[in-house]
Subunit: 241 residues, 2 copies
């Protein structure tokens, strides 16, 4: 009888924003698995730390941060092999995932490799998106408003936030825009928002729910944005009344 693979969302960073279910599964786990980036510490493990019990086996996947994706995929191959050995021995494996496993998460790489052969349960988690809205005090979606979530690299590849006749017209139509993964695209994204006349409605949020949280009007944001940052633009004219 094989074990079950759990992909569990840990929430955005504050350990208290973990679900009761995630905390229970971590505490009861025989085996946990998580990625580290380029040999650094694991943010996921840090979020979960208070619930990990002595004697728990830990499978660490060291994922290189390279433009070429092959080395990262090789790391997930290696991790999947180690996880298979535990599952085949009848032990459940709990994979720790920042945020939500199926929302821009790396769990999908393990899921793709293992879903055909094992029982898999995904436990959703609080995402960085609504955490940023909470931190900014911005109701992000009301009634029939449309929300579009777009990673900055895709936005930049499309060239502009609000061109008249381009495919990115989408960005004009959404009532709320969430621009993720700013990183090295931050300058280009800021220019696009300015060109679209939306700077005054844009809020910059960094490391939401952690002790290092930053919430600023975009116009006052720092020059560099870390990976864990996003811009929220709530255009909705709805007075919420």
């Amino acid at each position: 009888m094989s074990g079950t693979l759990y992909g569990i969302g840990l929430g955005p960073g504050d350990p208290e924003l973990m679900t009761l279910k995630a905390a229970r599964l971590i505490a009861g786990a025989d085996v946990i698995a998580y990625p580290t980036l380029a040999g650094g510490t694991s943010f996921a493990r840090a979020i979960a730390a208070d619930h990990i019990t002595a004697g728990t086996t830990e499978i660490v996947m060291d994922v290189p941060m390279t433009v070429d994706r092959a080395p990262a995929q090789a790391a997930y191959d290696t991790g999947a092999t180690a996880i298979r050995a535990e599952l085949d021995a009848g032990r459940d494996v709990v994979v720790l995932c920042e945020g939500d496993p199926f929302f821009y998460g790396s769990f999908m790489y393990l899921f793709a490799r293992l879903k055909s052969d094992y029982a898999v349960e995904v436990v959703p988690g609080v995402t960085s998106v609504t955490t940023c809205a909470a931190a900014a005090g911005l109701p992000m979606a009301a009634r029939n408003e449309v929300v579009t979530i777009i990673p900055a690299p895709q936005l930049v590849a499309q060239g502009a936030l609000v061109p008249d006749e381009s495919p990115t017209k989408v960005r004009q139509e959404a009532d709320t825009l969430v621009i993720m993964k700013l990183g090295r695209h931050f300058d280009a994204v800021r220019t696009m928002i300015s060109d679209a006349g939306l700077t005054e409605k844009a809020v910059y949020i960094e490391r939401a729910s952690t002790p290092d949280e930053v919430v600023l009007p975009l116009a006052e944001a720092p020059a560099k944005a870390p990976y864990f940052s996003m811009i929220l633009i709530v255009k909705g004219a709805d007075p919420w009344l």
Copy 2:
């Protein structure tokens, strides 16, 4: 010294998908407040029930479900007045919110009425969107994919899912579509999805994370969709490998 207003997300329905922070705040609350719909029971209170302690004051806002919004707004006026009295007396008030308070939630009505006069903290929660993705086993967003969330009434008002030159072109461009609030628009939405050739990629999910959860290919979905249902269309060609 006035009390603090907390808007806390309870997650999608499974009480175990509440965050540790929400559970702590509910257990310690002097006063909780929540809506009931048209005199019925409160789904929010049911999710939170195990954490509510004896002696907690409960403010119940009975919200009529009418097309005319004035009666509902009057109910929030009444609720806000009762909450003000507690806050003015120095007691914290914890408002129970299904899902996440700022993601299509009714908390925004209280927030709009009270935010200028009191300290407010919003605690994000797991949304129905990622819960449905987990239930369906569908990684909903990978790498630089674009996600669009659209309530069915808005989609129907726009007339089609994938017209060539209309404003709804947006719907074609997103890699993942989340169509919420199906209700009486379910038939029209189904037709639009079929017209767009997307039925095979569409999954119907109802009451995710509850004992009554339903997950079906859209082609096999029942004739009627309750309020707590949605359709996920994950078009992303990304092999997640």
